[in-house]
């Protein structure tokens, strides 16, 4: 396991009302993860902007925050992506906007494009806050995928660093996998048995993965597994919302093309409807 998955944390610093909250969140994470912060501003360098950003991050200097401010003129998506590559950013933080209804968050088109194209991990914050809010409960996907182990590692790492108390690993079981249509009592029984079998198998698989996570990260964390039945990618977000999780950790999508956006799946669902803060591990 990578003992420090996030060495450099990047954040797009646009001058919006959320700027201070966004930077505070990023700076706090850097301190927790012992990482360096890179503030990426899309636009020409001016001294005024630089001092303004410096002032915001100033309170964290006492906690030995290392940071740099970079100015990247050009088209926002490209500039930020190229900056993540140039400065070897491991984790990019993006803030979400809020819909008219106070309970719903969505992610703007720029952030969405970045999420799709970035080669590093992404943290989407639904409600950045100047004061720290304790992260208690982390939900992480337990998909049968080569990347899942890495995602799980990262989730435990984050839980450990942020002092979270609970991790729930969610196995999403698709209808296709059950493959029994429920028509009558007989097929209902068959489907039930099949589901239990799949749940057990999935549980075993996840337990195997959990056992590979170093014990130091599992200390003082309640680990739970939960099988849910629903649409892959969407239902995990719904679940995180139902149980009131603070952070959802997911695998990065393998690839997205035009059709994926038209018929959203996996991560695209989460992007249209952020249930909570989402961490996408690349």
């Amino acid at each position: 396991m990578n003992t420090q998955p996030f060495r450099v944390i990047g954040i797009g610093a646009g001058f919006s009302p959320n700027l201070k909250a966004n930077l505070y969140e990023a700076a706090r994470l850097c301190i927790f993860f012992n990482a360096k912060l890179v503030l990426i501003h899309v636009g020409e360098r001016t001294d005024e902007k630089a001092t303004q950003l410096d002032e915001i991050v100033a309170p964290f200097k006492v906690q030995n925050l290392l940071y740099s401010i970079v100015f990247q003129p050009g088209e926002p998506v490209e500039s930020i992506i190229s900056a993540t590559e140039k400065y070897k950013i491991d984790l990019l933080i993006l803030g979400a906007a809020q819909r008219e209804n106070i309970f719903k968050y969505y992610i703007g088109s720029i952030a969405r494009k970045i999420t799709r194209e970035a080669k590093c991990s992404i943290l989407l914050l639904i409600k950045p806050s100047v004061d720290r809010i304790q992260c208690e409960h982390i939900v992480v996907n337990g998909l049968e995928d080569a990347r899942t182990l890495q995602t799980l590692d990262a989730a435990f790492y984050v839980a450990n660093k942020l002092n979270a108390s609970r991790i729930t690993i969610v196995e999403e079981i698709r209808q296709q996998e059950v493959a029994v249509h429920v028509d009558d009592d007989k097929s209902l029984r068959a489907a039930k048995i099949k589901k239990e079998k799949i749940s057990r198998r999935e549980d075993y698989r996840v337990q195997q993965m959990i056992s590979q996570v170093p014990d130091t990260y599992k200390k003082e964390i309640t680990i739970k597994t939960q099988a849910i039945f629903g649409k892959r990618g969407y239902s995990i977000g719904h679940y995180a919302e139902v149980i009131g999780a603070d952070l959802l950790v997911m695998n990065a999508p393998s690839k997205t093309n035009f059709w994926d956006r038209l018929f959203p799946h996996d991560i695209e669902h989460i992007l249209t409807e952020l249930p909570t803060d989402v961490l996408i591990i690349q």
Binding site: N101, D184, G230, S235, H238, Y239, G244
Partner: protein, 739 residues
């Protein structure tokens, strides 16, 4: 004995009962079949052919258990148009094709298609069909055969016919009208007379028997011709041999035309809706609690319709009235449907000449009555009580169906429903944005009241447009388990969904399960009816119009347990602030309070958020408070490891008991005064905690606060909570509270 042999043995054992119930059903199927066929302008025998073919084929191939198949009332409207536009032979072709379409629907597993129609629109359509039947047959019932263009014209002329009935020159017509009126009276008053001999024979059969008896009385006793005009007698009931010889050849020449296909669509649509509604309703009646295989039944109905069409019969559908009579008379498997068909063959074989002694008006009275039942004012009243907007949908569909046709009618019904939903929610985007999203989440809850408890959460909106997604999930749950459906994240729930959920509720409670709907307490309704549509209120604290089903259940619970119930929202929550849990939380309000007379035991739903300004996460849950007679130490007890969720600063030390390792391992006990706590936690108390389900228990010195889930509790969970609190108090202070 193997399982299969066992099954066969039980079928044989049930055979006598099924033969009997098949016989009783055939008594009704005979006159109804004749009447429905005539109402559709098909030869009367077509109805019997439909019932026979349907009964034989569906009983062999079908997937339901106690249903009866045959000609249906709903199809009369569609068949009428097919018969008049395409001619009888063209209509048979349309029936055959609609059977094929039904078969295909069954293979494509589209049994759920009927779920896409709003229930008020379906009711409007059925009422329109009722009015079509009633309007047309009323005139024949009173001996006045007329031919008009529109369905409305028939209805408008009813008063003229009534007046005319007193002024016939020919007494033959007057007698016909009298036969009709007496028959109608039999239909109306039959159910009101409680006499076991009278009730042995169903009302339609009484009409048949009485009119045949009347005819024989004139012929044999009075030696006079039948006074009823010969034009108003059933003609041409062929004998069995003739039926076989005269099988019509369907005429497929119109297959390329629009009227042909619109007939096919109308017939398929109504046949599937009527059948699926009936199957759903009959499943609830099944004493053996079996689940019908809808798609298999659809296939069987399709195949039977094809067969029936080729033999000169009509569409085969599952019929609710005959099916429920079947269940009431002890029908327990599909063989009763088969026997009902066999008895019909027997009747036609033995009594085909006697059947021509039945006067038409008598038969039509049966149809007028069924037509009236479909469109009765009682039903309109029911719909009105659900909400005024349902009435708009109902009448919109009804009038369009009468004026134009069935397909347009149901389409208009769907459109009106959708427009009303958009107006009520003031949001078009809510539907457009979310209609394709998989908005239903289901998972098995660990640590629920029972091992088999499922939690289903629905997001965004839930209406006829996407109910099938919820239904898919619910159908995958066996009915003897516990289900909680949570709508708190759902902004809009319509009447169709509420009604369907009610059906699930009934089904689950009949089969030993428990089905509960939560999260609707924050929604507003237009009426007090439990099926009324509900929309999430943007601003809480508005006075609500009605209680939700859960609140009604709470009210009942209160009565049952001698508690007082208060549904009103209250912001007087200071009494909670002495509990450690709430020191860092902001309590919004409490609702649905249950308390006993001395206020010793107290439950409520509470809404709170974490922290004053950062409305990070809003939590709704149900809590219990019990008052204690004497002072106890301050402590907090929860599942090991879970407590940190509630205490951001986990600086407290877990108090462990050496002699109770199980308790110490499983529970996390906090408190400042360790000595007092140790003496308070007696062996008896620790045993109590060890042997009961987990709850979060915390004391503020005088009271105990008990809760366990971060969501609103179901009624069953509240009962469990009350019981737990009661017993806990008993252990602590050896004082019994009576509930």
């Amino acid at each position: 004995m193997s399982l299969k042999e066992n099954k066969i043995a039980s079928v044989f054992k049930a055979l006598p009962k099924n033969i009997f119930s098949g016989f009783v059903v055939s008594l009704i199927a005979l006159p109804l079949g004749l009447g429905l066929a005539m109402a559709s302008e098909a030869p009367p025998i077509a109805g019997i052919i439909t019932a026979v073919v349907g009964g034989v084929m569906v009983s062999i191939l079908g997937g339901s258990h106690v249903t009866i198949t045959g000609p249906g009332n709903g199809l009369v409207g569609g068949l009428l148009i097919a018969m008049t536009v395409l001619g009888p032979f063209g209509a048979y072709a349309a029936i055959i094709v609609s059977g094929v379409v039904l078969l295909v629907l069954g293979f494509l597993r589209l049994g759920k298609l009927a779920d896409f129609f709003p229930s008020s629109a379906i009711q409007g359509m059925l009422a329109a069909i009722g009015l079509i039947i009633l309007g047309k047959q009323f005139h024949i019932m009173l001996g006045n055969r007329i031919k008009r263009d529109g369905n409305i014209d028939y209805l408008l002329e009813i008063p003229t016919t009534i007046k005319g009935a007193f002024l016939y020159d020919d007494t033959g017509f007057t007698y016909a009208a009298i036969a009709g009126v007496i028959s109608l009276a039999i239909m109306v008053f039959y159910s009101k007379i409680r006499n076991k001999y009278l009730q042995l024979i169903p009302a339609p059969m009484w009409i048949v028997l009485l009119s045949i008896g009347f005819s024989y009385y004139y012929e044999l006793v009075l030696k006079l011709p039948n006074p009823i005009h010969p034009a108003y007698m059933i003609s041409n009931i062929p004998a069995l041999a003739e039926i076989v010889a005269d099988i019509p050849t369907p005429d497929f020449s119109t297959i390329g035309t629009l009227p042909f296909w619109s007939s096919v669509v109308a017939l398929t649509l109504i046949a599937s809706i009527e059948s699926l509604l009936s199957i759903k309703a009959v499943d609830k009646l099944d004493p053996q609690k079996r689940r019908s295989n809808i798609n298999r039944d659809l296939k069987a109905l399709g195949l039977a319709t094809v067969g029936s069409g080729f033999l000169g019969g009509l569409n085969v559908v599952t019929v609710i009235a005959r099916s429920s009579i079947n269940v009431n008379n002890g029908g327990s498997n599909r063989s009763s449907n088969f026997f009902h068909a066999s008895f019909l063959v027997l009747f036609i074989g033995l009594f085909s000449t006697q059947l021509t002694r039945i006067p038409l008006p008598a038969l039509m009275a049966i149809l007028v009555y069924t037509g009236y039942k479909l469109a009765s004012p009682v039903m309109i009243g029911k719909i009105f009580s659900i909400g005024r907007e349902q009435l708009i949908i109902f009448f919109g569909t009804l009038i369009t169906t009468l004026l134009v046709d069935l397909i347009t009618g149901i389409i208009i019904g769907v459109v009106i429903t959708f427009i009303i939903h958009v107006i009520l929610t003031k949001s078009f985007t809510l539907f457009i944005r979310n209609v394709l999203k998989p908005n239903v989440l289901m998972f098995r809850e660990a640590g629920g009241i029972s091992e088999n408890s499922y939690f289903v959460s629905v997001k965004h909106f839930c209406t006829f447009l996407n109910f099938y997604k919820l239904k898919d999930k619910l159908d995958a749950i066996s009915e003897d388990t516990d289900v909680v459906v949570d709508f708190s994240m759902c902004e809009f729930v319509d009447h169709t969904v509420m009604e369907n959920l009610h059906n699930y509720q009934e089904l689950f409670s009949k089969r030993g399960g428990h089905f509960e709907v939560i999260g609707l307490d924050m929604h507003d309704t237009k009426s007090e009816h439990p099926f009324a549509l509900r929309r999430l209120l943007p601003i809480p604290n508005v006075i609500k119009n009605s209680l939700t089903r859960r609140q009604i259940a709470l009210e009942e619970l209160a009565k049952d347990y001698h508690l007082t119930y208060d549904a009103q929202k209250s912001t007087k929550v200071h009494f909670l602030e002495t509990f450690y849990t709430f020191t860092t939380k902001k309590i919004e309000h409490i609702t649905n309070r249950l308390s006993n007379s001395e206020n010793i035991i107290n439950t409520f739903d509470i809404t709170f958020s974490e922290g004053e300004l950062i409305t990070k996460e809003i939590i709704r849950t149900t809590m219990l408070i019990i008052k204690l007679p004497n002072e106890v130490p301050l402590f907090t007890l929860d599942k090991e490891g879970l407590l940190e969720k509630f205490y951001s600063l986990a600086v407290h030390k877990d108090i462990n008991f050496k002699e109770h390792s199980d308790f110490s391992n499983r529970f996390y006990l906090l408190g400042d005064n360790e000595i007092a706590i140790r003496s308070f936690f007696t062996d008896e108390l620790i045993h109590f905690f060890e042997s009961n389900p987990y709850y979060h228990v915390e004391s503020n010195g005088k009271q105990l606060l008990i809760f366990n889930k971060e969501r609103i509790a179901s009624i069953k969970e509240i009962k469990a909570l009350l019981d737990y609190g009661k017993r806990l108090r008993q252990v602590i202070c050896e004082e019994v509270i009576t509930l």
